[in-house]
């Protein structure tokens, strides 16, 4: 268990979400560069202030962070190209805060960009080539897909607790309702529970509308010391707690219903010294509807098995007891392959009170949890607790 005290010394000083959802004329790095400018402008900083560079993407390979530094023509003192899947950028904020606290850098830029949609990537339903890949040697011969693994989690949850497809559909319906309040969201036309249940099955019990969309896009976050952030253009968002964790098959014996969020969430919330009732909104990685239910249970917002009831009847909608993903999430706003950075960006904007029609009134504490990889198989989890400036 972490006993770090550094989060109270770091803050998010600037954020930017790329407005585009389809950018066939741009590259990943171009999107990242445009986002870097947006977040630095938001903070009132310039490229010259950046001495820590963090980033990951779907196609950055070994030394990808070095390639990114060259593209931006920056020579930072600190580099971190950690890629633990879609949660990477939530993790990068933690790593940046630690590096700043340790004096290794003072202003960190966290970047993501993707052209997943214009490249027509089959992210959830493409199999892997197992013929030369030790990592997928025991899954590729059996037709494992990303959505298939989440579907097995969902079936297990339904079998053990009686969770229903209608309850999962409520999550998709709520995300779409939120997206209707977000001018940038890709899918804004309202849907009903019946629409979800009548959409075609992809991997039973998950339907098309239980799955996130695929878009292009990107984002950037500027992390600096709280002291410095107080003097910058935009109100700082305080980093109160953070945690990381991993869950996997072990030696073939792990409880697949327990996901990484349980460990990382507990670490982050204990560090922040908060209770669940203190949290005003949750930004939760929603690759699939079941991801939200699994994450809320494992973060402890409800007991295992109570997630279905928790998400029903407006429980995670704006105006409800715990608004989740007011931006519409990956299910309706954007999901360019990896979504972690948008969890941080929306949480920060909400805590700055800038979200217009989708603003959570008086939001003071937000939790952001990213899942990377595949629930039901192996995945990482990264949690941040963020606070408004008061």
């Amino acid at each position: 268990m972490s006993t770090a005290d550094f989060p109270n010394s770091a803050a998010i000083a600037g954020v930017y979400e790329h407005p585009s959802r389809f950018s066939p004329d741009k590259t990943e790095f171009q999107i990242m560069a445009e986002c870097a400018k947006g977040a630095l402008d938001d903070a009132g900083l310039t490229r010259d202030d950046v001495d820590g560079l963090f980033g990951a993407s779907m196609s950055m390979g070994m030394m990808g962070i070095v390639d990114l530094a060259e593209y931006l023509d920056v020579r930072p003192d600190y580099l971190d190209g950690t890629n633990i899947g879609g949660s990477s950028f939530v993790s990068h904020v933690t790593h940046a805060a630690a590096a700043i606290h340790a004096g290794l850098c003072s202003t960190a830029l966290v970047l993501y960009g993707s052209t997943a949609a214009s490249n027509a990537m089959a992210i959830g339903t493409g199999g892997t080539d197992g013929s030369k890949n030790p990592d997928s040697a025991f899954s590729a011969p059996y037709g494992m897909t990303t959505v298939g693994s989440y579907a097995m989690y969902a079936n297990l949850h339904m079998s053990k607790y009686g969770t229903s497809s209608e309850q999962l559909a409520e999550i998709a319906v709520t995300m779409r309702r939120h997206a209707g309040l977000n001018p940038l969201a890709k899918m804004r036309t309202p849907i009903t529970v019946d629409d979800v249940l009548e959409s075609r099955l992809i991997s039973r019990p998950l339907h098309l509308l239980d799955c996130c969309i695929i878009s292009d896009g990107g984002g950037a976050v500027v992390v600096t010391s709280l002291e410095r952030a107080k003097d910058l253009r935009t109100k700082p968002v305080h980093l109160l707690g953070c945690g990381e964790a991993v869950q996997h098959q072990g030696v073939g014996d792990s409880d697949l219903l327990t996901i990484a969020a349980k460990q990382s969430g507990q670490t982050a919330m204990e560090m922040a010294g908060i209770k669940h009732s203190d949290v005003d909104l949750a930004m939760v990685y929603d690759s699939f509807t079941i991801t939200v239910l699994a994450t809320l249970e494992n973060l402890g917002f409800c007991e295992p098995g109570e997630g279905g009831e928790f998400v029903s009847n407006g429980g995670i909608g704006l105006g409800g007891p715990l608004p989740v993903n007011p931006d519409g999430g990956g299910l309706s706003s954007n999901h360019p392959g990896m979504r972690g950075i948008f969890l941080v960006i929306e949480a920060a904007k909400q805590l700055r009170g800038e979200c217009g029609d989708r603003q959570v009134a008086g939001a003071e504490i937000a939790i952001a949890h990213g899942t990377g990889g595949t629930i039901g198989d192996k995945h990482s989890g990264a949690t941040l607790v963020l606070g408004a400036d008061r």
Binding site: T125, A137, G143, I202, G252
Partner: protein
């Protein structure tokens, strides 16, 4: 719906015991004689002792029960696209470890969590001298 054409598995020196065993119609697992751990997937060491000195292969019963499953309706991958819908499952073996597999020779709707299953082995056409097979399961 046609049957799955399983991709050839990648077999390193540490995992080939599993695939070679399947080629003899045997479900082969690893056990550490120091700590007693039975592990899957196979590794070059006992994951707990971090040592290979007393790691052995043994032939498991090939029996287990369905931990969870999904009927895959969409998978663009070669060998699977034309086989949809097919039933993918985690099976908990009687020896303890869980493995990913497919359930064959039954209607997708017939599968339920907790059902007993037994291993079967699908041999592969290969352009080398290896004799591997893919362990699959059917309802017991």
């Amino acid at each position: 719906m046609s049957s799955i054409t399983h991709p050839n598995p990648y077999a390193s020196w540490e995992t080939r015991g599993f695939w070679e065993g399947a080629g003899r119609d045997q479900l082969v697992l690893q056990k550490c004689n120091t700590c007693g751990l039975i592990q899957h997937r196979p590794r070059g060491v006992c994951a707990h002792c971090l040592d290979s000195s007393s790691l052995v292969h043994f032939v498991a019963s090939g029996r287990g029960s369905i931990y969870s499953y999904t009927v895959t309706e969409q998978n663009q991958a070669k060998g699977f696209a034309e086989a949809c819908p097919y039933t993918m499952a985690y099976v908990t073996l009687d020896e303890g470890p869980r493995l990913l597999t497919v359930i064959v020779d039954c209607e997708p709707d017939a599968v339920e969590i907790g059902m007993s299953v037994v291993a079967d082995f699908v041999s592969q056409e290969r352009d080398d001298d290896e004799r591997f097979a893919i362990p699959v399961f059917r309802l017991a």
